[in-house]
């Protein structure tokens, strides 16, 4: 991931559904830690891949995205439960994450981010002699 992707996009730019109010949703998230990385998975159905932005600064990860509107102007809505126009969530991960070594993949509406630890923070097994 290059630094170009690590910029904050202003959420005021999100207004997907025309006249409807903006609804920024906090995506449901799973997170686990392996010996070498943190893996964060966020449910972001309908997010436009090119609008997904990640920022990592001082151990804080911010994720945001815009959602493709699916209501055309000539379509009448009979029943509505959806209305998400964007996603935004902030995680405090602490120090020890390698800023230059972050992988992200968006698949089936789920964004999975793998943040590698700086080697010194990996647990070390110390043998007793």
């Amino acid at each position: 991931m290059n630094n170009e992707n690590l910029t904050v996009r202003k959420m005021s730019a999100v207004n997907g559904n025309g006249d409807l109010p903006r609804t920024i949703v906090t995506p449901c998230t799973d997170m686990y830690e392996t010996p070498e990385a943190y893996v964060v998975s966020l449910d972001m159905p309908g997010a436009r891949k090119e609008t997904i932005t990640l920022t990592l600064e001082k151990g804080v990860l911010q994720v945001s995205a815009e959602v493709e509107p699916h209501h055309g102007k000539s379509i009448a809505v009979l029943y509505r439960e959806l209305g998400t126009t964007g996603y935004h969530r902030v995680f405090a991960l602490g120090e020890g994450i390698d800023r230059e070594h972050v992988d992200a993949i968006f698949e089936d509406g789920v964004l999975t981010v793998k943040l590698y630890k700086i080697p010194e923070t990996k647990p070390r097994t110390i043998s007793i002699h």
Partner: protein, 142 residues
């Protein structure tokens, strides 16, 4: 007379589900509920089609199923659980894996043989052509 569409007639509606609807997403987020395993959806129409859009994050095409029988549309499938690699530990688990099913009675006659469904980026889009008799018809005034 125009009546505001308050609630789509769900095929099976138990009192417990009504309570969940009232409390909405708050329950889903705080404690999880059966509703969290039911995909949220919108239903729309234009002059010739009925369009249903549902959120199915984490569900692959192979694990999603759409059926239409006797005017009842059912969206079902399974979200496979996420495995935890060895020597790893969870920090948080908010998503819910497992099977889901949601049925809707369609509000008009449709052409069941020409239904299309597409699942992309966690969004299922079902397009159902209306039956000829359900389409608006212009009547000439003499």
């Amino acid at each position: 007379m125009i009546v505001r569409f308050e609630r789509f007639p769900v095929v099976q509606s138990l009192p417990g589900e009504v309570v969940e609807d009232l409390l909405g997403d708050f329950i889903d987020r705080r404690w999880g509920s059966r509703r969290a395993t039911v995909p949220a959806l919108d239903m729309m129409e234009n002059s010739s089609e009925l369009i249903i859009v549902a959120e199915l994050p984490g569900v692959t095409k192979e694990d999603a199923k759409v059926t239409l029988q006797n005017g009842v549309l059912t969206i079902s499938g399974e979200r496979k659980p996420r495995g935890l690699p060895e020597e790893s530990r969870w920090h948080r688990t908010e998503t819910e894996a497992g099977t889901f099913s949601r049925s809707l009675e369609l509000p008009m006659a449709v052409n069941a043989s020409a239904v299309t469904a597409e699942l992309k980026d966690g969004i299922l889009r079902i397009v159902i052509p209306k039956a000829e008799e359900a389409r608006p018809r212009e009547i000439r005034v003499n």
